[in-house]
């Protein structure tokens, strides 16, 4: 009796104990805990399981746990395989995609344990799992954020599997969400992405990722239909209980790429046509020399032999022809000189502008002596320039200052001033100031044009190419040239040249 009573008490205690366990299990809301028989049929179900998987106990008990797996996993016998592995080792842990009652998928982390009786016979399994995107509230926020992003957003785990994506990603790649979740990111970014997430001998996964954070990576994306398109990817890490996930913002840059390509092609085209034009000017003016020489020589021969032997009209005609040929000759020479600025220049180097000016003054010695001009200068800097062209530039400007002089002693002064503080943008601004005729403001632009003249031919010789050459030289040096002047008050020409590399 006492024994019976004792047994009853023990049974009561056991029942109480079982009851407490059940309450305990049901109290666990964020983990699915259930038991299965040896073939995977569900025999118990807690509230967490109902919440996570969506099945009520009465709906699921008796069914095989393979219904939690995506069809493709069921197809390859994954549920059975997991049971076999658990039975063999006693315990099995992994992460994987699971399917809720409503068909939606989620990433789950789960642990299975084999239950054996005292004789060691397999009695069933115990599964303990949770939704890895479990923090529903923050997940909802995160999803909201993803959906609001203008770019395709894909969250990838360290195995290279897609965990989450937004609607823009579906549109960009042409897949439905459930076709991508759980799949390798290689399916949509064939190369260059997954590799960046992988640890190797010299770095951990976190370090590998850290190297990529915040920089745009240009890769190729592949749509469901197999077509590829250029993408720019920005990566950012996302801490999660299962390790670092990577959020990738993927932007389709087809349009930008197309624009870039077009721009490059246009630049190349422009460069080519510019070179062609320069070449054309050179060849044309060069080839014009030959027939011109014939015209000039034979009209001169005519003039030498027959002047005064024909009538006066003939003499006049011949002299016009000779004059025309001579002028054409000068024009062609000037055109050649102009085109040589672009095609025949030397490489830039450190050049003493003072020496260049002195060379120019030496070249102008005849004109300087004849006019009595006084050419002075401040100490001048070393600049980054084509030496020959710098000489020509000074020579043209000083030569003009002498040529277009007022009565009296022409005074010409060359000075320089530093412009711009930043090292690689520092330039020297040169000024060539004279006390000559001066120029009206309305001609300030015109004088730098090709073959532009402000005076009659009888007044001043020349074709009007000098300042056009100056402008071209200065522009080749990345600068610009301008003039300040008042009629009768002299002129100041200013141009900028880059500082030499050695200076800062």
């Amino acid at each position: 009796m006492a024994q019976m009573e004792g047994r009853g008490l023990a049974r009561d205690a056991l029942r109480e104990c079982e009851e407490s366990y059940r309450m305990l299990l049901d109290g666990i809301q964020d983990h699915a805990i259930f038991m299965m028989d040896p073939v995977g049929r569900i025999v118990s179900w807690n509230a967490g399981a109902e919440r996570i998987k969506g099945y009520r106990a009465d709906e699921i008990i008796g069914r095989n746990f393979s219904c939690f797996f995506p069809p493709e996993d069921v197809g390859r016998g994954r549920p059975e395989e997991i049971l076999r592995m658990t039975a063999a080792s006693g315990r099995h842990e992994e992460q994987g995609m699971r399917v809720r009652k409503d068909g939606s998928r989620f990433l789950a982390g789960f642990t299975l344990m084999a239950l054996r009786d005292q004789a060691g016979k397999l009695r069933g399994f115990f599964e303990f799992s949770h939704d890895l995107s479990a923090s529903k509230e923050s997940e909802a926020k995160y999803r909201g954020l993803l959906e609001a992003a203008p770019d395709a957003m894909v969250v990838v785990n360290q195995d290279g599997e897609i965990v989450l994506l937004n609607a823009q990603a579906e549109r960009t790649f042409g897949y439905r969400r459930d076709e991508l979740v759980g799949q390798q990111v290689r399916n949509i970014i064939p190369t260059g992405f997954a590799e960046r997430l992988i640890a190797d001998g010299t770095r951990t996964a976190a370090e590998a990722l850290a190297q990529q954070i915040g920089t745009g990576i240009e890769l190729s994306g592949r749509r469901k239909d197999g077509s590829e398109f250029p993408v720019e990817i920005m990566l950012s890490p996302l801490e999660s209980p299962e390790g670092i996930l990577v959020t990738a913002a993927i932007r389709d840059i087809s349009v930008r790429k197309k624009a870039e390509t077009l721009l490059l092609r246009t630049v190349a085209e422009l460069k080519r046509s510019n070179e062609e034009l320069a070449q054309f000017a050179y060849v044309a003016s060069h080839d014009l020399q030959e027939p011109l020489r014939m015209v000039a020589s034979y009209t001169q021969l005519l003039s030498n032999r027959y002047k005064g032997k024909l009538d006066s009209a003939a003499d006049e005609f011949i002299s016009f022809a000779v004059d025309g040929a001579n002028r054409m000759h000068r024009s062609i020479q000037d055109l050649l000189a102009f085109s040589r600025v672009g095609t025949g220049g030397e490489d830039f180097g450190d050049i003493s502008s003072e020496e260049a000016l002195e060379q120019a003054i030496a070249n102008l010695r005849g004109a300087i002596e004849e006019s009595g001009a006084l050419v002075t200068h401040d100490p001048l800097p070393t600049v980054l320039a084509d030496g020959g062209q710098l000489v020509q530039l000074f020579q043209n400007l000083v030569g003009n200052a002498i040529k277009y002089r007022n009565p009296g002693v022409p005074q010409i002064h060359v000075s320089s001033a530093k412009d711009g503080g930043k090292n690689d943008e520092a330039r020297w601004i040169f000024s060539v100031r004279d006390n000559g005729l001066g120029i009206e403001a309305k001609y300030f632009k015109k004088i730098f044009g090709m073959f532009q003249r402000l005076h009659k031919r009888e007044e001043y010789a020349g074709t009007g190419i000098g300042l056009a050459i100056c402008k071209k030289i200065v522009e080749r040096h990345g600068g610009s040239i301008s003039v300040e002047s008042q009629l009768g008050q002299g002129s100041t020409f200013r141009f900028g040249v880059a500082s030499s590399k050695g200076e800062s």
Binding site: A296, Y298, N326
Partner: protein, 153 residues
């Protein structure tokens, strides 16, 4: 055997030039001097080489004392002719003067690299041209002592 440079003996000059206008101008100037000059004209490079090597119709061609060579020629251009002349042991001692419109640095450099004896740019002005041809012929045909017609190798 004639003695080169002696007064009274005609000098043989080969002008390689395709422009008849230039040929005439050169002839006018060269032949207006006191020296007796036989001016031979080849109008392209192939013809010039045939003359120099006494080929075909040119078997009786004399060996020139001086060659005036234009660069821009049909068929075989001046640089090619120059290379042939200066690469040929029996011809390379003949003074060869480049007389051309080109003042391109590349043409000048290449000519001297191919051992041109000098390089002259034709001036546009008639007087300057006359002066150039005259001073050149004076120098090469009177002032300098030219090599003997054939040198032992």
């Amino acid at each position: 055997m004639k003695t080169i440079g002696k007064e009274g003996m005609p000098l043989e000059v080969l002008l390689i030039e395709d422009n008849p206008g230039d040929v005439r101008l050169t002839r006018e100037t060269l032949c207006s001097g006191k020296r007796s000059i036989h001016l031979h004209v080849a109008t392209d490079g192939v013809e010039a080489m045939a003359f120099l090597r006494h080929e075909e119709a040119q078997v009786r061609a004399p060996r020139p004392d001086l060659i005036l060579l234009d660069l821009n020629l049909p068929r075989m251009d001046g640089h090619e002719v120059l290379a042939e002349i200066k690469g040929d042991d029996s011809l390379k001692t003949i003074p060869t003067i480049i007389l051309t419109t080109s003042d391109a640095q590349a043409d000048i450099a290449k000519s001297y690299q191919l051992h041109a004896n000098c390089y002259l740019t034709k001036p546009v002005q008639l007087d300057a041209f006359n002066c150039l041809v005259k001073s050149t012929s004076d120098f090469w045909l009177s002032t300098v002592t030219l090599p003997p017609p054939s040198q032992p190798r």
